[in-house]
Symmetry: C2
Subunit: 301 residues, 2 copies
């Protein structure tokens, strides 16, 4: 047995596994329209941090299983995340021209193709996940449960509802509770989903699944608050978008309610609570989840 990977090695390995698999997600016999494929690949390889795949792999590891159980699922989660960014950036939604230092999908491929690239990534994520059982080591039952979990948390039981609430709320988010509720669904749900799907494929028991779920929502919220703080304090270069873009678009953020120092304390509190939940749920190898929680706490982009 080789020495355990450092966190940096683990994150790099996760990214490499997912990106290698992305080059194989288009089945050769399928009539995939070429420009559609280009548009999907453009956003899949646009420099994402691959945090959701890393969380999914960490959940699998925490149960003593290896990554092969979960590469397809990690791809599916990242495809869903990518589609959500493409649709969020559309002129009718946030109308963003740049993301991660590159022109957004609709700027390069046009609005119609960007809508279809999002639809294609969303739909194909379910193909990749549902056929994982036949190529990997996950059982049919666990795979079907993972499909249902992804559809719930990426859809109207999570992300899509959060996005809708965000749109409606732009006409006036007036309380911290309202802001937390929106981000719980908009960002937290898919992060919790990454962890729960890792748990399902790794054979977690009910108590462990509940812990992964709550861990996910807590670090998801911490992640979002950190985003807001970085928007105020980071540099354009590191963020890949203009600094203080939230402030300019008059978006209500956590620092607006809590101040920057208050926001930082809240991030630490949530991270600590999240880690405690995992440590109490009887995982054989909880260490990687702890490391990632700390890593997200200390990130600068």
């Amino acid at each position: 047995m080789s020495a355990p990977l450092t966190l940096a090695q683990f994150l790099q390995q996760s990214t490499e596994q997912v990106e290698a698999a992305f080059t194989r997600i288009f089945p050769e016999q399928w009539p995939v329209q070429q420009r559609l494929r280009d548009s999907m690949e453009y956003s899949l390889f646009a420099g994402g941090k691959r945090i959701r795949p890393a969380l999914l792999f960490a959940a699998v590891e925490s149960l003593g299983k290896t990554h092969e159980h979960a590469v397809a699922a990690a791809c599916a989660i990242e495809m869903i995340h990518t589609y959500s960014l493409i649709h969020d950036d559309l002129p009718a939604m946030d109308d963003d021209d740049m993301r991660r230092g590159k022109p957004t999908n609709h700027i390069v491929y046009g609005e119609a193709m960007a809508i279809l690239a999002g639809d294609g990534l969303l739909t194909h994520a379910f193909y990749v996940l549902s056929t994982a059982a036949s190529v990997g080591k996950a059982s049919t039952e666990a795979t079907l449960a993972a499909v249902a979990e992804l559809a719930k948390l990426a859809g109207i039981g999570g992300m899509v509802s959060g996005q809708a609430a965000d749109i409606m709320g732009e006409q006036g988010v007036t309380s911290l509770e309202q802001l937390i509720a929106i981000h719980r669904e908009k960002t937290g749900a898919l992060i919790a989903g990454s962890l729960k799907i890792g748990g399902l494929l790794g054979g977690a028991n009910a108590r462990q699944l509940a812990a992964l779920d709550q861990f996910g929502y807590k670090i998801g919220l911490a992640f979002q608050i950190q985003d807001d703080v970085l928007d105020l304090t980071g540099t354009t270069e590191k963020l890949g978008k203009p600094q203080k873009s939230d402030e300019k678009s008059q978006k209500v953020t956590y620092p607006y309610f809590l101040g920057i120092e208050g926001s930082r304390l809240e991030i630490e509190r949530l991270t600590d609570e999240a880690k405690q939940l995992i440590l109490q749920a009887g995982f054989v190898k909880p260490q990687r989840l702890m490391e990632i929680a700390d890593y997200l706490l200390n990130r600068d982009r």
Copy 2:
């Protein structure tokens, strides 16, 4: 045992089963944003003909099984069809203000919410289908295979690719072959998908699945040609959209290549071929599939 239903009774029953199930697809505990839900329901209940659920039920019947095996799957197919119409109607796509005699989703709810309603329906279709095994009579294996089939044919292995080809082709479809290829994916794939998913849930063998697949693509093509013919010959009242709207938007259609009489002959030829395929594949009750093929051949809206 009661007397078999007439086709009219069967179609009405199919519609009623799907529409009753649509009122139960939003799980009570989920934080579904209210306007998102309104927007999704608006299009789900906008007077669709429910042809895909009827085909799915007919495939199940052809194998001697009852509808309970497949109500969730029929809902999933119709939700996918509905999402595709919402996104197709968007200003960046076909820019249609009216459908089936009613304002399109984005006219009523705005463009951003229409995009999200489509995303929500697409994602939730996979929730409804993937949880069907726990509420119905289908096996886990058949359900997971149905998820994969739906993701393929509704996605980049079918409908989404067809839509992308249609967009690209608008800059010049110059041959009948090109037009057939686009419609094969854009319309045919989801119709074939309805039949194959019915086959999978009803326990079809490989030969029967292949017959359902080819039957689906043939009647799907016939259906599309009929749409083009009706656009030229039907009335605005029956169509729910202005007559000759294709001609006005300079859309290339089958009658453009084949003439109206040639198109009608092609519809008959495809329908006959489709029926023969089913009759040769050893179904215990092929009758309903025959009736629906004839019904589609003779429809006037």
